[in-house]
Point group: C2
Chain length 416, copies 2
């Protein structure tokens, strides 16, 4: 099918709406978001009812239990989504802030003003809370949003979108400020990803297939939210108590998320290896180690295959390797890590500073759990996601990540 | 031809070199750059000799006089290139700076550290000073660089590259820190642009064809340096003296560059239209106006075609339009501008503030010439270029634009 006309409408509508969105006052945005949260809770029953249609469909199509769980909405989960919208409403507004104003020898005053990027397209799969979170973050940051969720959540997303568009209408805002694309054909997405004339940024959130496809097809700049293959390195000087606490927390506190650790690197001269490994095993973690690691607790550690060091287990499995020192640890991370979150446990000042400086990941931790890599924990409020690319927004990305800096120049008739 | 093996070598060499480059000390980088500048001047004769080969070739292939001039190197121009390297050496080093450190309720301290992006690929045409400027900026910002110049400058670039690689060798640095790709086939570029595993950022500098091709083929994030279709808006309240000075300077001081103005928008109620137009005509500018503009100086202003408002003249031609007010002016800019640089001349506070806030360009000026949009004038030192995209680096882009921010977390055993 030819979607040219439909996409033209969506794009020009969003572009038009983005200009008005950029100059919405702070208080009006707060009001709009609060009303949206209230409306969402009021319409909870309707949303749950539409969500059931998707769940029936999912059952029919044999989606995995984990996928079905991610898709399911309950009144409690909907209240959580409303709370998240309220939290976004309460955040600092990033738009209009001027940074680094200086006077130049010519007499002009130059600074950089934070402004919305314009039109944000988000391509996502299953988790329906993305629909309301992203809509709220885009409104907060003064952008227009084009949302394209997966077909497995189409009824749910449509119900959530009607909450969003009713709220926009009530406010008197352009309903093009947030658009949901309900057609889920492949070709439509392909055409959409070529519209760099109207769309300023594309954010894919989903599995590796989706991310790869968007990266390959898009002529619009992409902010990837890719997997997290995170490591904890226990240095020879580490406090054993801290090492155990941090390794266990990084791996086991919530193993299914991207900032959970998958690999444990241990300095050969760290003396408390056995109790470190035991602490993990007691928490139900299956360890897969190099030969040297296995020999620490014979029979209790499986031998690791080479792939284990490249696997995001997202469960209670951890790859273990004994290393000769910080350089070998950093080499391992550089080769096998995904540049998401890495931690060192050490009491050595130089090791801490080298690790912070040299490890090329979005977040680097000394003596703290990788699980802290999160917008809330870092003080950004709700997140767009955790970016695994280096440009524009790296790591936990909040409303500010949806803005950009433009130069503003105050002159008094200066010329060159 | 299959370049897989060659590109593998280039990419893995650059990736390896980038780790060492990232932790080079500030003083060593300064030393290396100063030596490079000295060596360039010492080898001036050799570079001019190689440049002549390219000029002979250009003559044979019938390159335009403007292109040939951009390609030509003289001892003076080479001294200018050396001066630019020294200027980059003297700039503030952006690497390692930590911004916005805060303590979170959990007890962790979170900040963002400026770090090199890693491997920078620059695809460019003709102007050979790009070779030394970009090499110096990449070294300063702790990156490895892959340079791919055009075939019309291949002898010149090779000679310049030997200066760069000799300087790296003398310093004891990895010669993979800067690599020049001397094969200029199309297929090679296509393969290179898919290597997002090794290259972190691609910067195309050249004509629209090159930029479009790189954007379409690259799976690596691209920072575009596109055309400048810049405007000056003279508001009804403008000081006539300032309006004339700024319009003339923006258009005529150096009309061939991207921050020169192409369009003049004049408020209908601005009373000194005739002398404004005369000031431009006296400087040799051909005005092409709407009917209303033409009637101001009958016979002296050509009628504009619709395309004139979408043309980057890069010469002494300017499109003129009379508008009803600031909204019409901003609509015109939004529709016809390239988001590069726009100026308003006004004495009205609200008009100035609205223009600064609402015009969606990389640099927005009140009562100053668009010609100030320049790394040197803004205090960044030498530029990578002027980015016309919104993400990561917008507008004048210096060494800092080749860095990124990663989160650094100082803990004391904290877990979630």
């Amino acid at each position: 099918m030819d979607y040219t006309k439909y996409i033209d409408e969506v794009c020009s509508g969003a572009k038009k709406a983005s200009r008005a969105a950029a100059s919405m006052s702070i208080s009006r945005k707060i009001e709009l978001l609060k009303n949206m949260a209230d409306r969402l809770e009021k319409n909870s029953g309707q949303v749950v009812k539409e969500n059931l249609k998707d769940l029936v469909e999912a059952e029919k199509n044999g989606l995995s239990a984990a996928m079905v769980d991610r898709l399911r909405l309950t009144p409690e989960r909907i209240s959580g989504m409303a709370a998240s919208i309220r939290e976004i409403a309460a955040q600092d507004d990033p738009v209009g802030r001027i940074e680094g104003m200086t006077v130049r020898p010519s007499g002009i005053r130059v600074g950089r003003m934070r402004v919305p990027v314009g039109v944000v397209a988000v391509i996502y799969e299953s988790r329906p809370n993305v629909t309301t979170d992203i809509a709220a973050l885009c409104i907060k940051s003064g952008n227009a949003a084009i949302l394209r969720g997966g077909k497995e959540a189409i009824h749910t997303n449509t119900a959530l979108y009607s909450v969003i568009s009713e709220s926009l209408k009530e406010d008197g805002a352009d309903t093009g400020t947030v658009v949901l694309i309900t057609k889920t054909d492949r070709e439509l997405l392909t055409s959409l990803l070529k519209r760099s004339d109207s769309i300023d940024i594309v954010i894919p959130r989903g599995g590796p297939g989706l991310i790869q496809r968007v990266t390959e097809e898009s002529t619009i700049p992409v902010i990837k939210h890719d997997k997290g293959l995170c490591s904890v390195f226990v240095d020879s000087s580490a406090s054993p108590e801290m090492a155990e606490k941090i390794a266990v927390n990084s791996k086991a506190q919530r193993p299914g998320v991207c900032n959970a650790a998958e690999t444990l690197l241990v300095h050969r001269e760290y003396s408390e290896k056995a109790s470190l490994f035991q602490a993990l095993i007691i928490k139900g973690v299956e360890l897969r180690g190099c030969a040297e690691a296995c020999s620490v607790l014979p029979g209790s550690i499986k031998e690791a295959s080479p792939e284990d060091y490249d696997t995001e287990f997202l469960g209670l499995v951890m790859a273990v390797r004994i290393v000769g020192g910080i350089d070998e640890a950093m080499d391992h991370i550089s080769k096998h890590g995904s540049g998401h979150s890495e931690a060192i446990v050490t009491e050595n000042y130089s090791a801490a500073e080298r690790f912070l400086r040299e490890v090329d990941s979005a977040a680097v931790f000394v003596n703290a759990s990788t699980r802290f890599h999160d917008g809330g924990e870092f003080g950004l409020g709700a997140e767009v996601g955790i970016s695994t690319q280096k440009l524009h927004a790296r790591g936990a990305m909040g409303a500010e990540g949806l803005t950009t800096l433009k130069y503003v120049v105050y002159g008094n008739g200066e010329v060159r």
